[in-house]
């Protein structure tokens, strides 16, 4: 419990530090939200109108006052409203975050379904044809940039074969099959890297576990090969796979930008990117803060999962 509370307190301090750094950095770099908003499309706005908007948005106030105001609101759980359209930041995150999580979850499921069995099989048949082909494929998948894969998928499946939509989003409640169809390509694009990572980690980890004494003991006890594989080898090989998956999932929270952009998937990355461009301070700080908190949460969950998988972690 003490460990948990300590982790929680550290997480809160880290989240505050992240929010503060982002807040201050954004205010230091050049760019005036009012001027940028009114220059959309390259037009030259009336400077008097820009000044009026700046006043209305409270951007004329001293930075310390704006920061204090931000902290007071944050303490109440209020992340403020967008400078662009006055939309509450919390509502924007509540709308967008589930879509990004869905994308990451779909990609992760794909990665685990393909990468884990493939990695295990490759380890069991080390040096075999499958192992060599799969390892080469994994290297290729890791080397290919995500936007190249995304663009190729669109070119092949949407533009040429016209089998899939080029991109976009439809709520699941509105049209489930169209929703899943639109989810498929971005999920595959994200999963391609994860599959390779899971494959490599699974293969290395299973190879390592196979050489352990307890596996030899299990075999010597006369357990069936499948029981040895599932109960002893795979289970004990999962910890490093989980670590890598956890780290990647955290990174993906803010790293799906390219995929969301290429496939027009309206997750959290798109408004973050747009908010940075528009210097929409409350939106950027709010989204980054939430991503940081989720990243910390994922790490916490991973620690708890280790404990579930490995009794030695529980003991410490």
């Amino acid at each position: 419990m003490r460990w948990f509370l300590h982790r929680l307190a550290t997480s809160i301090v880290l989240a505050w530090a992240v929010a503060t750094i982002v807040f201050l950095t954004l205010h230091v770099v050049p760019g005036d939200p009012a001027e940028i908003l009114m220059s959309t499309g390259g037009v030259s706005p009336d400077p008097a109108a820009v000044a009026e908007l700046r006043q209305r948005l409270g951007l004329e106030r001293p930075l310390a006052e704006q920061y204090w105001d931000f902290l007071r609101k944050l303490a109440r759980g209020d992340l403020g409203t967008s400078l662009v359209d006055d939309y509450p930041v919390v509502s924007e995150i509540a709308l967008r975050l589930p879509r990004t999580l869905e994308l990451i979850a779909a990609a992760t499921v794909l990665a685990v379904i393909i990468g884990l069995p493939a990695g295990t099989y490759a380890a069991l048949n080390r040096g075999g044809l499958f192992d060599r082909i799969a390892s080469a494929m994994a290297a290729l998948l890791l080397a290919l940039p995500v936007f190249v894969v995304g663009t190729l998928l669109v070119l092949l499946l949407a533009q040429t074969l016209r089998l899939m939509p080029a991109g976009g989003f439809v709520p699941f409640t509105q049209n489930p099959s169209q929703h899943l169809t639109l989810l498929a390509l971005p999920a595959i694009a994200i999963a391609k890297g994860l599959v390779a990572v899971v494959f490599r980690m699974s293969r290395a980890s299973v190879l390592d576990t196979l050489s352990r004494d307890f596996v030899r003991t299990a075999r010597a006890k006369g357990l069936s090969p499948s029981r040895v594989l599932i109960r002893h080898v795979v289970r004990n090989s999962l910890t490093p796979v989980l670590t890598v998956l956890g780290l990647h999932m955290g990174t993906l929270l803010g790293g799906t930008v390219l995929v969301e952009y290429v496939f027009n998937w309206p997750g959290l990355s798109t408004p973050l990117l747009r908010a940075v461009e528009a210097r929409d301070y409350p939106m950027v700080v709010g989204i980054v803060l939430i991503i940081s908190i989720l990243f910390l949460l994922i790490n916490l969950i991973m620690d708890l999962l280790y404990a579930a998988l490995d009794p030695r972690v529980r003991a410490t």
């Binding site: 499309g41 379904i113 493939a118 533009q159 939509p165 080029a166 991109g167 439809v170």
Partner: protein, 505 residues
């Protein structure tokens, strides 16, 4: 054996993602339109870009608009004229109603103008409307506008997609308009749905029953969506995709030379404060290279003030006033006392490929006459701020005029206006500004033409900016889309209103 079982399982689990062709199908009367950006907001008087302007023009209406030939046409006003005292008089069309069923009255027009011109207004046309000193309502269907000075172009103000008449009792965040369509749904950041307004004042319009605007910020994906049949029409067809759209037997392309690329100067310091050096720059760049590289051939060299060809103000000779002539450039540099050139900072943005590519070509040609430019290519937001503050020596920019009247170029040419990222900083071009003002206050068309030709001559001498290239503004669409017109010249960005005359299927 084990491999194939797992492979089968894995394949089976991915099938639901791959095998369901759950794509939306096209329906006659219902248009799916690919927007290039999510409208930051739909406030009727604030500028938030062309995409927002397209949607706003369909859910709101103003007194006037441009018809499919680019001429002024009545909307909520059925006629307009100048009275003997020099005031503009607008007669409202009878039987026009807002989306809530309330009639459109002169009071609504008066209230709208007052909001735009208000001291605390953030409206795009605020400074223009602030020159209206009195709004009179002689009768419930007539509005008379008295301006501080004669304003020949006042009617065009009401054609801007940031000027719409709104019901005067509207709530601030829910402006009620009188456009051909009503906003019925929106999926934030993704799509907007509008449906035909059944009490629209033009018989038989709109021809479409609904339009679904779907946002594709990535230009290549937007083009791919059109080619894949996900949408029926898109705006801002990327230049590199225009050939593919033209080659597709199901699609067609409609382009206009509207927006243009130009060079801006900081006239407050260094050699660019000398008009001769600016003119040397104007003669130094071979525009064909910009058209070829930055716009994949989908543009046209611009060697003078950006006056649209085919308009009365266009003059073939003046249009070549800054023709490519390196020898002339070197003469001007020598005359200005910098025969060996100098170093300068060139500002553009790397966020838009056309800006970056154009800047690189300009950089190369300026090096030929001895001006060594260090390229500064920040993202767009920083570019805007540096431009407003004048933190550059020379800049490359892209913009469109407000309309095809030379007065629409005031935002680019009149350097007496306060600093803006789209205008040269502190450049002295007083004769150009003075002639623009004279043209604005002259009502006789023949005299206006003469004034604006003089203005072009003055600008060629004073060089408040340098035109580089017209760029094609394209709409791509399914061949079943009929009746849409991409408006000529600078009006291209206002073509969204034409969707009321568009049919599909």
């Amino acid at each position: 054996m084990m491999i194939s079982r797992r492979a089968v399982v894995a394949t089976g689990l991915t099938l639901p993602f791959l095998a369901v062709p759950g794509r939306a199908q096209s329906k006659p009367g219902h248009l799916r339109f690919g927007l290039s950006a999510w409208p930051p907001n739909l406030q009727p008087w604030v500028t938030t870009g062309v995409s927002a302007g397209t949607v706003k023009t369909l859910i709101h209406r103003s007194l006037l608009s441009f018809n499919n030939k680019g001429e002024l046409a009545g909307e909520l006003a059925e006629s307009w004229s100048l009275d003997a005292q020099g005031a503009w008089v607008f007669k409202l069309r009878p039987n026009t109603v807002f989306h809530n069923g309330e009639p459109v009255t002169a009071d609504d027009v008066k209230w709208t103008i007052e909001q735009i011109a208000d001291a605390k207004s953030t409206a795009f046309m605020r400074s223009q409307f602030q020159s209206i000193v009195r709004i009179e309502i002689p009768d419930p269907s007539t509005v008379r506008l008295v301006t501080r000075e004669p304003q020949a172009t006042l009617p065009t103000w009401f054609c801007n997609y940031n000027v719409h008449v709104v019901w005067r009792h509207s709530e601030a965040n829910n402006p009620i308009g009188a456009g051909p369509f009503r906003l019925v749904a929106q999926e934030r950041g993704t799509s907007l749905d509008i449906e035909a307004f059944d009490r629209y004042y033009k018989p038989g319009l709109p021809k479409l029953r609904s339009i679904k605007f779907i946002v594709y910020a990535d230009e290549n994906l937007r083009a791919a969506a059109l080619q894949a049949g996900d949408v029926d029409m898109i705006e801002y067809v990327p230049w590199q995709a225009m050939s593919a759209v033209e080659a597709d037997p199901r699609l067609k392309l409609d382009t206009q030379y509207g927006p243009f690329m130009d060079i801006l100067f900081n006239g407050t310091r260094g050699p660019f404060s000398d008009a001769r050096v600016r003119r040397a720059v104007a003669h130094a760049v071979k525009r064909e290279d910009i058209v070829k590289v930055a716009f994949f051939g989908r543009g046209k060299p611009l060697e003078g003030v950006p006056i649209v060809e085919g308009t009365p103000w266009y003059d073939a000779e003046l249009a070549k006033g800054w023709a490519y002539d390196t020898a002339r450039s070197k003469e001007l540099m020598a005359a200005a006392g910098v025969p060996n050139g100098f170093e300068a900072v060139m500002l553009a943005t790397a966020q838009f490929g056309m800006h970056k590519d154009t800047a690189e070509i300009v950089q190369k040609y300026l090096a030929d006459i001895g001006i060594q430019c260090e390229l500064k290519l920040p993202e767009w937001s920083t570019r805007v701020t540096l431009g407003v503050r004048g933190q550059y020596d020379i800049a490359v920019h892209g913009i469109a005029a407000d309309n095809n009247d030379p007065d629409g170029l005031t935002i680019v040419l009149d350097t007496t206006l306060p600093p803006s990222h789209g205008r040269s900083f502190g450049v002295q071009a007083s004769r150009t500004a003075e002639l623009l003002a004279r043209g604005r206050s002259e009502f006789d068309q023949t005299k206006r033409v003469a004034i604006y030709k003089d203005m072009q001559r003055a600008a060629i001498e004073e060089v408040p900016m340098v035109g580089l290239a017209w760029r094609a503004q394209g709409y791509g669409m399914d061949k079943r889309v009929q009746g849409f017109t991409n408006l000529p010249g600078a009006l291209s960005t206002s073509s969204g209103g034409m969707l009321e005359e568009t049919s599909f299927g």
